[in-house]
Symmetry: C2
Subunit: 214 residues, 2 copies
């Protein structure tokens, strides 16, 4: 699943942020600090932090939420154990940030981890280190508070810190609100601009190709 597989949640998240104008976004942003440091709250406090292995059950839950929302829950073939193995070993396949709220603001189901951004490092042979953001998700009850934007901006901050020169991701063409939001923030649509198509070998086609290796 790529980032805009959850088109509407993102669209709503960002659309809400945008429609409120820069003032409130700015105010909300100031409240995004480790909880212990927050003295004044705008509407809801939350923190953004690197995921730990024990967050994988929450991440798995949100991956599935997203797939259910998209009416494709049967597409999810991994569980928290695989996420733990692949994301928290010595050579992790991905990195993850989570958004957390204090217990008193937990979801109706009692969850305090309410959003995540999952990304990994990639490489451009012209420019060097890059980051690809695979997923960006915020639970429906917690949208419109700038959490999605804070997650995305934090991924961009990590990119800068790690000397990455690009932050890349994919969006579905019918997800116009999200596309417009990203473009308004200065992203370039390389499919539109340069004609890049995204291709994939999987399943039998991948197996067959591998059999042709020397």
């Amino acid at each position: 699943m790529l980032i805009s597989a959850f088109a509407s949640p993102l669209a709503r998240e960002f659309h809400t942020v945008q429609s409120r104008g820069p003032g409130l976004v700015s105010s909300c942003r100031r409240s995004i600090k480790p909880i212990s440091l927050i003295n004044t709250l705008i509407s809801m406090e939350y923190s953004i932090r690197p995921a730990r292995a024990q967050d994988c059950t929450d991440i798995e839950r949100m991956i599935m939420d997203l797939a259910v929302y998209e009416k494709m829950p049967d597409q999810v073939k991994i569980c928290h154990k695989e996420l733990e193995r692949d994301g928290f070993g010595p050579n992790p396949f991905f990195q993850c940030l989570v958004a957390e709220v204090p217990q008193e603001h937990s979801s109706p189901g009692g969850h305090t981890v309410v959003g995540y951004a999952l990304y990994f490092y990639t490489y451009s042979t012209w420019r060097g280190r890059c980051i690809y953001m695979e997923d960006l998700y915020v639970m429906p009850d917690f949208r419109g508070k700038g959490i999605g934007k804070a997650l995305m901006a934090t991924v961009a901050k990590v990119a800068m810190e790690q000397q990455c020169v690009r932050l890349q991701f994919s969006v579905l063409d019918w997800n116009r609100p999200s596309l417009d939001f990203y473009l308004s923030k200065g992203a370039q649509d390389l499919t539109e601009k340069e004609g890049w198509h995204f291709l994939r070998f999987d399943g039998e086609a991948l197996e067959k190709l591998a059999l042709e290796a020397p």
Copy 2:
């Protein structure tokens, strides 16, 4: 740069392979073994092996060849030292395979490393481990011998060995011969089929986004 930035070389490589029909492809394939093991040669022997740090000057040369071919040499901002740092440390940002020919078959310039496939691991939150192939290149004098196909198939083999469920890459829409080749091998064009667009933040837009992080 993504894989089909070098549209025509790839197209020619694969088109030649295809036009020769499966018989010769198969014959060539059998010759792709470590040089010491080759007893009979069809037209040219070569081996595919993981790149070493000392190959970075060759890889840099071929990255630049490609950029010159595309009339965009000024786009290349990295050199072999950065490739060494980023690809051969304890947590490499990429992996690379090279195609090598024996000294007696070296290029007019004396090069024996004549092609490369540069890839990295990515992650699907629905399916798990994946590989993205960033570059696939064969020097013009060495095309039409199945080297490009052998490189790509070896990346697919690595993907299977590492329990990766997808091999992904990008192709320019005007690069019809390459697109058709990949589709004929069973690849799916996700931009065409599902409408995925490839987006990027870089330069000032990335810096500005990072400044919005909490």
